[in-house]
Every structure is written in C-alpha cells, then in structure tokens.
Subunit: 297 residues, 2 copies
Amino acid sequence: MRIVGIDIGGTFIKAGLVIDDKIIKTRKVRTEPKRLTDTLIEITRNLGAEKLGVGAPGLVDKDGVVSRPPNLLGIDKLSLKKILEDRLKIPVIIDNDANVIALGEYKYGAGRGVKNLVVMTLGTGVGGAIIINGKLHRGRDFAGEIGHITIDRDGPLCRCGNYGCLETYVGGPYIVKRVQEAIKRGSPRKGIKTSLNEYKEITPEVISKEAYKGDRYAREVISEMGDAIGIGLASICVVLDPERIIIGGGIANMGKVLFDKIRKTLKKRLYTREEIDIRKSELGDRAGVLGAALLFK
Amino acid sequence: MRIVGIDIGGTFIKAGLVIDDKIIKTRKVRTEPKRLTDTLIEITRNLGAEKLGVGAPGLVDKDGVVSRPPNLLGIDKLSLKKILEDRLKIPVIIDNDANVIALGEYKYGAGRGVKNLVVMTLGTGVGGAIIINGKLHRGRDFAGEIGHITIDRDGPLCRCGNYGCLETYVGGPYIVKRVQEAIKRGSPRKGIKTSLNEYKEITPEVISKEAYKGDRYAREVISEMGDAIGIGLASICVVLDPERIIIGGGIANMGKVLFDKIRKTLKKRLYTREEIDIRKSELGDRAGVLGAALLFK
C-alpha cells in the first residue's frame, strides 16, 4: 500500500511516501497558506499515493475540518478532508499535527517502550498529544492542547482567548516579541549586555545560537521558557502521571539550558515527587510523515 | 459475594456491605486518625466481609501504601493493604478516594452514559479522578490529582510544595482561613457587610448557608472559588476534552452561585469553545462505598 504522510508546518510542508512503514521518497516545500490545498494535492499525486494521511495545525475535528491553526493566516473552518477526497479520489484522514507527530515518535522514535506518553511540540504554537494505553487520546475531538493550560490566571492574553496560557510564555512569536521589546528599551535587563541587539531579525534560532555561545540574556530568556514549561508539565503530570514526556518542535533544539530548567522546575513543583522521564523527540521531520501514514493503521 | 466498601473521609468513615451491586447495610463513624486501622478492621468484621475495598485520601500506590493524605494527621507511608490483609485474612484493595467515588458515580450515578469523564471532589483537599474509555486512568499510580494543577504560578504555597495550586483557592481549610483573616481585619471588603462575623466558627457550611440567605461577601467568596475551579477545569478540558465533568464533595453543595461561576469562567477561558457538561455528583456517601466494592470487578 502506497500511503503518503504529510505534516503541515507553519514554515514547511513535509511529505513522504510510506511503504511498509518506511519512507521511500520525501518532499519539503515552503508553506503558502493561500494555495495550501493545491500544494497538498500536487505533492500527493506526485508521490503516487493510494491513501493520504495529514497532520494539520489547529483544532481538527472528526470530519477533518481544520479550525484556528496558529500559523496559517486566513485559514479557518477548512473542510480539508472533504476537499482532498473530492479532488484526489482516494481515502484521506486528517488529524492534529501534534497527534500525528506523537504517533510517529510512539511507534518509531523516543516513545518506544512505554504505553502512556505525553508529547509537547514547541514552535509557533505549543501543541501536544496524549497517548494512553498505547492509543491516541482524542477526547471528543480536541484533547492534547497542552499549550493552552493556564500557567498564570492573570498572565498575557493568548490568541485562544484565555489568559496566561503556557503558549504565551514559550510560543515562538510571543518570545520574539518579548525579546524585541526588551532590546528596543536598550539594555534588556539591568547590568546584562547581550549580542542579540546586533541582529536585524530576532528568531528563536538566534536566541538559541547566542545562548549556546554564552550570551547571558539569551540564556535567561530560555531558562524562563523552561520554567514555564516545567510549571505546565507539573500540571499535566498530576493529571495524567505519564511514563514519559517527549518534547519536540524547533524550540526543543534550544538544548541543555532549556531541558535543565524544565527538569528543575518540575522536580520542585510536582506534588507526587516522582521522577519524570523527559526526552527530546528523535525523528525530526520524519515523525509527522510516518505518524500521518500511521493514521491508516 | 459479600464485599465491604469503605470510603475514608476526613471527618467520617463511610462503609457498606455490598451484595450484588446493592448496599445492604451501612456504617458511618467519625474518623480518628490514631485508630484508623482498628476502626476499619472492626467495621469490616462487623459487616461480615469476604472482600474489602477501600478508598483512602492522599497518594495511594500499587501496593496500597497511603502517603500524604490531606486530612489524616500523623498518617504517612501507611501500608494499609498489607496491615488489613494480615489482620483480616481476606483480599483487600486500596485505591485513592476520588478514584473510588468516580467508579461509583460512573457505574451508578452522574457518570452513567459516557465513557470519558473527569470527577472532582471538593473537600478538605481537592481530589480528582479520570475515566478514559470506561476505565480509571491511574497513570503510573497517582493520576487524577487535579487539585494540584497550577492556577497561578506565583500563588499561595500549597501543602504539596507547589505554588498556586487549585487546592489553595478552593480547599476547605484555605477558604476558612482566608475568611477568618478577612473578618479579623473588620469589614471583609470595602463597603460590604457580612453576617459571617457573627459565627464563632467559620466552616464551608456556614459560608454556604449565608450565601444562600443572600450575604454578599459569602457569595463573593463562593464566586471566587467557582472562578478558580473554572480556570482549573479549562486546563483539564484542553488536555482531556472529556464528555462530562462531575463535581462532588461537601463544597459542591455550595449550589448555584458556585456552579454558575464555574460554567461562566470555563466558557470564557476554554480554547476549544466547546460546551462542557458539568454535573453535581448524585450518590453522596454511597458513591465511595459502591465504588470501593467495584474495585473487585
């Protein structure tokens, strides 16, 4: 069976032809929200699919309707499954992108060997997925949206309408904006110099790069992100008590400063005092592609 | 089969002999932590049990060891299962009290008809339990402790070591202390009179009673509790997206003011904008007794 798996990211669409659980061919193209469905159709035909699995950002319901994706401007209530099936004439399954990444990591990556797993994806938005007894927990449709756990009831307004969501402390655009504003004010923090003010464009990548080189302010920014993630994960752990937590997405590449702080905060805050097995995702782009194909298993 | 189910509460131990899913006889005695095991043994023998199921507060592990119960002074790391089996010579299963209440409500009460359910118990501590696909989700041992979700990262220190847990906003002793302190300062809030300062002892019950009579301050206290619960439930709903939420325990009797505010906050804060079916528990004391007996199913 020739299954094509596609992961729609905010920046890139990643696709692969999967035969017998192996990725045979891949495609990676820049995401253009305006011609999203055309691009998906081209890629799918081009790879010669008999079935298509898609991981999409935002809220994805049972009918494959995509709503409020955090990073696809102009897309809302898009009946993606119906559109793709009508035009491609093959079976299509759409699921949330983090769900699909979780399936991939669970079966082939950092999630192997456990049955109860939480996956967090750190990028433009903060996504998540929950595997319980070896199966994705979807709830009525929208379970796993761990970016929208409240960290501080009086915190910043989130794009979702809530205040103080985890995403407002660690989502890419929120972080970039905070650093830009700090730099505009001059010295970002009392007595701390930073090389970040030499960049024309601030991105999570340059914050990460400067932190790696030892920039104190950049390291503080990342440490504060780790603290917020630790607080959020403590809430998730008291609710679910999972065997393992996997953290993926671009921002997960911020490395040791981030992960050390996550672990430290979690240890300090978690009621049950249990050890938590936190790992970085292993499969990168392949997780979403393999996971999307796994939707047909 | 003569199964005895016991629910160890902070104030009362509630027990019943359950035959063919029906409670035949009951016992209710005041909880004295110092002679807890003796009391449990007496009741169990007295009811003529062939098997014993127990719901205990705090963290209960696979071996039936009870740790850090919020309301049993002096009890910690108590090997309750082992002690009871050694002395009673019958099979004993111990589980968390909220888990046991959830089992009872799921099978016979407010949880009938759905497969994905969150149960919150409001009392001295704030407990919780999660039913997924018709089964209790225990995680590694300690899942469902929804009282220790963070509401405000800089909030009050919780007995669990975390800051700003839901329990610090709605747990009985925290509320009583807050009201007592407000009354000690004189008028509890600017321009608001209250009848609560006429009571010798402040309890959740008198706050509830005065709110029912229209006392504005008492109503505000309850409304603030509802707000905190709504924030906590919003976090739980983005993670689990359950079909129904059941709220039980003494404080759930605070009535319409409480439930209206919970629903309002949840509606305002919940990312997915879904309708949430929130109900009060139906079985009262019987939930824990029946649920404890169900541990043998």
